[in-house]
C-alpha cells in the first residue's frame, strides 16, 4: 500500500488532471469497445472522441481495449 501522506508525482498529477470529456461511462465503453478496436486497427485515423477520452482516463477499460487489440492482432497472424 502506498503512503498517502506524501506529495504527488508528476505522473499522478497527469492522471488527476486528465481531461475525460466528453463523458462516457464504463458500460458505454464496454458496449463500443469491440467496434472501436476493430475500426482503429484498420484505420489509425478513425476517431471517437468519447472513447479516446474514456480510455485515457480509465485504466481498467484501457487495459481491456489493449488486450482486445492484441487478440485481434494475433488472430490476424
Amino acid at each position: 500500500m502506498n503512503d498517502p501522506m506524501r506529495g504527488l508525482s508528476a505522473e499522478m498529477i497527469d492522471r488527476l488532471l486528465a481531461d475525460t470529456s466528453p463523458y462516457l461511462s464504463c458500460d458505454d465503453c464496454f458496449a463500443r469497445v469491440d467496434q472501436y478496436v476493430e475500426r482503429t486497427s484498420v484505420d489509425p485515423h478513425y476517431e471517437d472522441a468519447a472513447m479516446a477520452a474514456h480510455l485515457a482516463g480509465c485504466d481498467a477499460c484501457a487495459h481491456e481495449a489493449q488486450t482486445l487489440r492484441e487478440l485481434l492482432r494475433h488472430d490476424a497472424g
Partner: protein, 217 residues
C-alpha cells in the same frame, strides 16, 4: 498440465466469422457444438488476459492461473449467452465475444491480487515536506501544491476518497467497487466529476489553459 501462456495455448485461433453463433440458442446438437466453440473462443481471450496480467499475482503458479482463466471463461460464457440478443453485428462476433472474456478475466485477476490487501479510504492528502527548498520553488512543485490544495478545497469527501484510492493508492476500479458496494460506472462518474472540478480550479489559478468545452460529443 496446460499453462495459460497464449503462445503455447492449445486453443486454435478463430476462423473468419460465419453464422455458427446463431446456433447458440439451439437446444440440439448444433447448439451444443456452438456452445463448445464459444467456450474455446472465450478461453483463448481469458488465457491471454490472465497471462498478460500475471505480474499482478507474484507467486501464483501456472495451474492456478489456468484455473482463473477457466473460471473466467465459464463466467464469460454465461454473460455472452445472457447478452446474445444485444449483438447487433457492428463488429465481428468473435471480437464482440472476446470482450466478455477479457473483462471477466481482468476482474478475476485484479480481485485475486487484492484479495488479502486492505483498501484504506483516506480523504486527506498531506504534504510531509513543507520547508522551502529549491525544488519547492520550481514550477512542477508549485503545480503539485496547487493540485493538492484543489483536492482539499474543491472535492467533496466522497470524491476525495475515490480519487485518492484510484489514482494515488492505485486500487483497481472494480476492486474498489466491490469493497464499497458500488459499481465501476458510479466510481468512474465520480472520478470524471472530480477531474472536472480539479481542472476548473487549476484553470482559474492559471496552471491550465482554458480549453473549449468538450463535454458534448
Amino acid at each position: 498440465m496446460t499453462t495459460v501462456n497464449p503462445a503455447r495455448s492449445d486453443v486454435v485461433p478463430p476462423a473468419e466469422d460465419d453464422p455458427w453463433w446463431a446456433e447458440l440458442t439451439d437446444d440440439g446438437w448444433a447448439g451444443s457444438q456452438a456452445l463448445g466453440r464459444l467456450r474455446e473462443l472465450l478461453l483463448r481471450a481469458t488465457r491471454h488476459q490472465v497471462w498478460r496480467l500475471r505480474d499482478l499475482l507474484p507467486g501464483v503458479g501456472p495451474g492456478e492461473l489456468e484455473d482463473l482463466a477457466q473460471q473466467a471463461a465459464d463466467d464469460a460464457s454465461m454473460a455472452v449467452l445472457r447478452q446474445l440478443a444485444t449483438f447487433e453485428g457492428r463488429s465481428r462476433f468473435t471480437t464482440w465475444a472476446y470482450k466478455f472474456g477479457v473483462l471477466h478475466a481482468g476482474v478475476a485477476v485484479r480481485r485475486e491480487a487484492w484479495r488479502h490487501r486492505q483498501v484504506t479510504l483516506s480523504d486527506t492528502l498531506t504534504v510531509v515536506d513543507t520547508a522551502p527548498s529549491p525544488a519547492a520553488l520550481n514550477e512542477a512543485a508549485q503545480l503539485a501544491r496547487a493540485v493538492e490544495g484543489a483536492i482539499d478545497s474543491e472535492l467533496t469527501p466522497h470524491q476525495r476518497r475515490v480519487v485518492l484510492a484510484l489514482l494515488v493508492e492505485q486500487v483497481p476500479i472494480d476492486v474498489l467497487a466491490d469493497r464499497l458496494g458500488s459499481t465501476r460506472n458510479a466510481l468512474y462518474k465520480t472520478l470524471h466529476d472530480a477531474r472536472r472540478r480539479l481542472r476548473a480550479a487549476l484553470t482559474d489559478l492559471g496552471y491550465l489553459e482554458t480549453r473549449p468545452d468538450r463535454s458534448t460529443p
